[in-house]
Symmetry: D3
Subunit: 190 residues, 6 copies
């Protein structure tokens, strides 16, 4: 746009894309990439509770993200960082973020996210910005992907390659030990 030519410098703004990223999915990567178009830096914040074990160790979750976000990390648009036992608003304050960015996979997600967004705004005034999830990835969540993979379903195209390989390893290992990981919750419900 010609009218933008003189507008070289805007205010520098950082946002946070929070999650447990256990593991990162292509749905997460879509939102992180779009957040990077709207803000000057995206802090991908891996929030975890030291007292609770996830499917993957925090270090491995960070590795997944670093590999998948390689180019964006190199260009300085994105940063990956783990936070233990911290409120999201404190994470935002610490890294100097003006907003949290979240993807919405339909109206159900909003019912869950709205009270947290209001609480966070009440606590420190930090804004939560919602983006509509890519419809092609609407069914992709860490928990559904893990469940499908644990029962031998093919999740190619839903997670980065490295995650795909590790989910396959987990699957093979647990088959020996009789399906001990992975809940079959959603497959069982009637």
């Amino acid at each position: 746009m010609g009218q933008n030519s003189q507008e070289s410098d805007g205010e520098w703004r950082r946002c946070v894309c929070p999650g447990s990223y256990d593991p990162v999915t292509n749905g997460h990567l879509d939102i992180i990439g779009r957040a990077a178009q709207l803000f000057d830096e995206v802090v991908v914040a891996v929030l975890h509770n030291p007292a609770k074990r996830g499917t993957f160790e925090v270090e491995e979750r960070l590795d997944f993200l670093r590999v998948a976000l390689g180019d964006q990390l190199a260009s300085g648009q994105v940063r990956v960082q783990a936070f233990a036992g911290r409120l999201l608003v404190d994470v935002c304050r610490e890294v100097g973020a003006v907003a949290v960015v979240k993807g919405l996979r339909g109206t159900g997600d909003l019912g869950y996210e709205l009270p947290m967004a209001l609480m966070n705004r009440h606590l420190t005034g930090v804004e939560t910005v919602f983006l509509a999830a890519d419809p092609a990835l609407e069914h992709v969540s860490s928990s559904l992907v893990k469940e499908v993979a644990a029962y031998g379903g093919d999740v190619t195209g839903l997670v980065p390659d490295l995650v795909l390989r590790r989910l396959l390893e987990l699957r093979n290992r647990s088959q020996g030990s009789q399906g001990s990981h992975g809940s079959q919750g959603s497959q069982e419900e009637g």
Copy 2:
């Protein structure tokens, strides 16, 4: 319809009504019966995770279903089968089903079912068919029925007779042992 007279033969189509059926309710039976009007055979698939215990053993869940579905089993319209640690899409492939049939008890159910339907379609192309639950049974779910029964509420008319008797037995037994089964979760919330 006169125009149907010459149309004696259609394609043979099978569907799956999946669930944990722990235990079967009259809401389930309503959906199974309606599915049998739309498809040539209904496979009632009792999905379970060997590593997790339910309220009733899988064998007993199958018994409940067989007794309640007696006539439809005899006529060959319906079949009851258990599947351990299996993806729903693999169950559909194994039994040769073109569709999964699910009841919707309102818009909340859909928010939960939609990602799974999309995931299943993504995995193997299997279709999920949603039917509106009978409004008179809209409040009937296995978990709510169990909770009510565990605290002595009367669930006559909400589950088949055999299930009703067994829920009463469980209730009487657990009263001796101080209310150890049944969560009061939903009754407690504020």
Copy 3:
């Protein structure tokens, strides 16, 4: 599946895909095609009210459908028919359909469709079968497509080619007459 080999003949079943189809979109075509996998014949019922004018004449809506559904019409899987001032349940009774098939583009659609499905089941027992809309076409409705096209937006890939051409013609004609057709309602709201 080997177990299907002996199952050559099922019951013959017909369904109705109702709508105003003013005009048909690729979202409609997706649902019609999927309905044809589940039923032996799909009657695409163009419901209209003689007292109300649509964007396209009923004859032209039927033409759009016939061209877009050419192969399926030829194979006898699909039939296209107009009905003036008729209840959907009477249409189903007349053509001998056991079910209505509807696409759901999210939970909002269900809130609107559920009372009608319950009413129709109350009136004649006809079943309504809901299918999850293809996420890639989730944003596609006749009204939104018409609005976008009326203001010069490119709706390639959202409607069949013939519809695309006719929408362009309408657009060019109305530009001469100062934007007289098409509501800008949804673009205007704040």
Copy 4:
């Protein structure tokens, strides 16, 4: 309850059940009857805009209500009254009501009713009380009943007898004049 014996007198409280009642349905009557269990008097307020014509004249709507609510009117539990061009909060103030009572036919209704309830509470502090609609009447609204009746559908059991007769008369009359009343909107949508 023995503990209630000494509690003969409570505070006298009146509520308002507002609507256009064009015409009253059995769903309305269910809510009015239940409101009468919770409050000492129910004012059934027929709100209308003199500048807009409904399907039935206001006087006829009042007649429908008076006939259907005969016993409750006689006992003084219920009162029927028309209000032209008035805010609901002003109606409440005028009749001395502490609350508005509304039926909810699912979560969709709430999305529509919540802003009005909040607005009314903001304006005068009047409370809005929501009751869950009887599931057996969940699909019953004045507009859907009128549409079904206009196209010859049988709405017996969904509206009081007098309304049923008048809807039939309207239907017969409009058939002569080529379906000029009644929108077929919801039957047409795709």
Copy 5:
């Protein structure tokens, strides 16, 4: 209202405001206070399961309520009582309540509450009355408040003072023992 002058005595009606109140929030107090305008007595029923431990002991939850509701308890408008392992409908029967009062913090809450309201009405006919939560407290739930407080967030204004002090004590104690209480669930999700 002059027209109310002769209406000194209404029927005496009691309602129940059920919950785990673990702990009471200002959102609960808002609903209890509004229920007291609509009914002659409010029984604040602390429902708990002896087999499950909450964050606070039942006795302490009752204390929080008694202190916060001091004036209303003294005036006889409100009563606080604990019930162990009981169905809500049995609680209502025991105390002679005609209705349950619940706050709705949006349409999501309704999806959860509606089946229970219908079940309770099915069981004993007891009515559930829904009030729209105060928007200023829409984000306030016992679980979110506990989570925020556990991670050092300031919940002043969201809970009564006594609760605020006790949450601070819990926070200080658990910091010594390495974050052992409080789930970080909602802060972690992506």
Copy 6:
């Protein structure tokens, strides 16, 4: 934040807050103000259809906005502009905006906004950013405010002062002419 000191210059980004603003409410102003924290310039785009008359002329709507946004206009953070008969995506392209900003007043709003956001992203890739409406203004929409004002309700605090005065004038004028403007739609519904 010390870590921000060297980050003086970010990319310059513009967003659009679209609407009919007929008239602007305090809910709009809240969203515009928050958008100005996230982007370097906000274009408040008054979209209108020359063929449809609103309550206020476009020039007057612009005046309302200019007066209410005085300081932000002066500082160059905000710009107000009218667009006739234009697609929102074309407006964004013309002014060089990377995003549309919309307020969400609950999950109902999202059901309406999501298809448009997906359509706009499909058309040109423009992003839609959703912010949670201030709960204290959740019930405030142009249409509800106009309806309340038209029937004499006090909307002080819901709209800017100038709008309040003009709504009063309209009210007084229309009282002379017998309630000819303003729909009473939502007040009438049952």
